[in-house]
Amino acid sequence: MRSILLAAILLASPALAQTAAPLGAPLRVDINAGLMQPMPIAVPAFAPGNGASTEAGTTTQLGERAAQVIANDLKSSGLFKPIDPAAYTTTVGIDDVLKPDFPAWRTIAAQALVTGTVTANPDGGITLACYAYDVFAGSEIARQGFVTTAAGWRRAAHKCADLVYSRLTGEAGYFDSRIVYVSETGPRTKRIKRLAIMDQDGAGHRFLTSGQNLVLTPRFAPGQQTITYMSFENNRPRVWLYTLGTGRQEAVGQFAAMTFAPRFSPDGQNLVFSMAVGGNTDIYRFNIATRSVTRLTSGPGIDTSPSYSPDGSKIVFESDRGGSQQVYVMNADGSGQSRISFGEGRSASPVWSPRGDYIAFTRIGGGRFGIGVMRPDGSGERLLTNGYQDESPAWSPNGRVILFARGDRSGRSGLWSVDISGLNERRIATPLDASDPAWSPLLP
């Protein structure tokens, strides 16, 4: 995927530099504060930097759409409350981007203002300039320019939203990212499943496979151009690789038995997955370049759902070796296996946060399925959701939001997300039913 160039914004004026020092405490959103009021924020249409048109629309049109994408991103986080543009008492021209009418924004109680320009470039691309202001302090919070193709305007808008989110929360953003998942349709006895991919906000949805073969559990490589998944092609359930861009699909290795539950190592050089041999399931590491296979677990239990720590030194997995599904951690070479989950019921399908601070898992108990988090040593367990069938947690690239699949008793299923605080549980729209989500890292 084409990367978006960061550009120093050249619109800076001497006057702006003098107002850069904020008065009092800086504007801040505490994402760990528990129940809180979302911050009112104004995101007026970005001003056209020039009158030119692009293949994606005029700069005026792109400015309007970019503001909508940014407002939607910030709203979806649950931390911001975009103010209805109908309440705005002022419009934003190119001069207002550098010198906002702060009194006008204060009258509608906007605490923060995101504004900017969209300019068509001679090469057919655009520059999206993104500015964020603390309205009550009357000071600038952040500015950044993004140079991209005209068709890349959405990604530039997501990058602007990520800039605002990161400056106001102190956390990395996650809006310029994608979701791969399994699209489902049909009755449970004849379910058709396809790999599908879309932007984090649901835009750009497309199917990757035809539905002819049952496919499960897609997960991104760290470089994001490859997805590992499981396919039942030719009635041989195996781990496969899908290359985005070319659409190439390739079985991983030549195994005589079922391989499943694949994930990449953080460096992208290895896969870990399970192989079931004669009724016994263990975890193996597969080196993609050398095709060498290393067995990491042994013994008669089911060992599956392996997931690397972000530094690659450890692997969290589930095993029923103690009688029922529980979460275990081992070193990446298979040594030092120890159980870390001791909560009620069963704990399954663990996934290590890309920040390293939490492990998300599926809790099964009392006829219900929920998503929970625990520290890598098993402490601090908290259940975030509870449903008939909440499973398959997946982390946002900043490790602050968890995607999961929620199924109901009628056999319908969809994607949902929840903050690690347990707040902001919301449905992620998909064209058909959905399961097995995975979130990409932030795009380059």
């Binding site: 079931a276 599956t304 599904q325 006829g367």
Partner: protein, 181 residues
């Protein structure tokens, strides 16, 4: 998958089978009257040496239908999160083993399935355990393992569309599927 051959294929195969078995008495397959449906003509075909004319006659030896007829069922059921064969399952598999001995050219796949009350990846492993429980029992009855393959579908292919104990009980299963004969 060859579990459900189209009806016209079954009928054509039936005709060939009858013709092959008709050494003692040649079976004449007459074109049915234009108004008669082909199915209606079948029971009238005389079959040499068969004491139970009718439905049983249409079962092809070595077929999935034949397995279900002779063994009672092609399916054994399991308790929740279990891959142990209970007495009913062992009795069924004992009859399936007898049928496999009587049809020595038949190869089968043991499909392992789970109900929906497990996580996806664990259920793939549990289905593999169930398929292998059935396979190992058949092997213990003297069936050559070269004739037995396994596949797990986890919770992906339930037999019954439902979310109650009755549906779950039917979905926790191993199915013996005829692959070639």
């Amino acid at each position: 998958m060859t579990r459900h051959l189209p009806k016209f294929t079954l009928m054509a195969t039936l005709a060939l089978t009858l013709a092959a078995c008709g050494a003692k008495k040649k079976v004449e397959l007459e074109a049915p009257p234009a108004t008669a449906r082909p199915e209606a003509a079948q029971p009238s075909i005389p079959i040499q040496g068969d004491t139970t004319p009718g439905v049983a006659n249409s079962i092809i030896p070595g077929s999935q239908e034949d397995l279900r007829d002779k063994a009672g069922t092609d399916t054994v059921l399991f308790a929740y999160d279990s891959y142990e064969l209970d007495p009913d399952a062992r009795a069924t598999l004992t009859r399936q083993a007898a049928w496999l001995r009587a049809n020595p050219s038949v190869r089968v796949t043991l499909e392992g399935h789970c109900d929906e009350r497990g996580t996806r990846e664990y259920n793939l492993a549990l289905g593999d355990r169930r398929a292998n429980s059935a396979k190992n029992f058949l092997a213990s009855q003297g069936i050559d393992v070269a004739r037995l393959t396994t596949i797990s579908y986890g919770k992906e292919k339930p037999a019954v569309d439902g979310s109650d104990e009755a549906a779950w009980a039917q979905n926790r299963r191993a199915v013996t599927v005829v692959m070639s004969r």
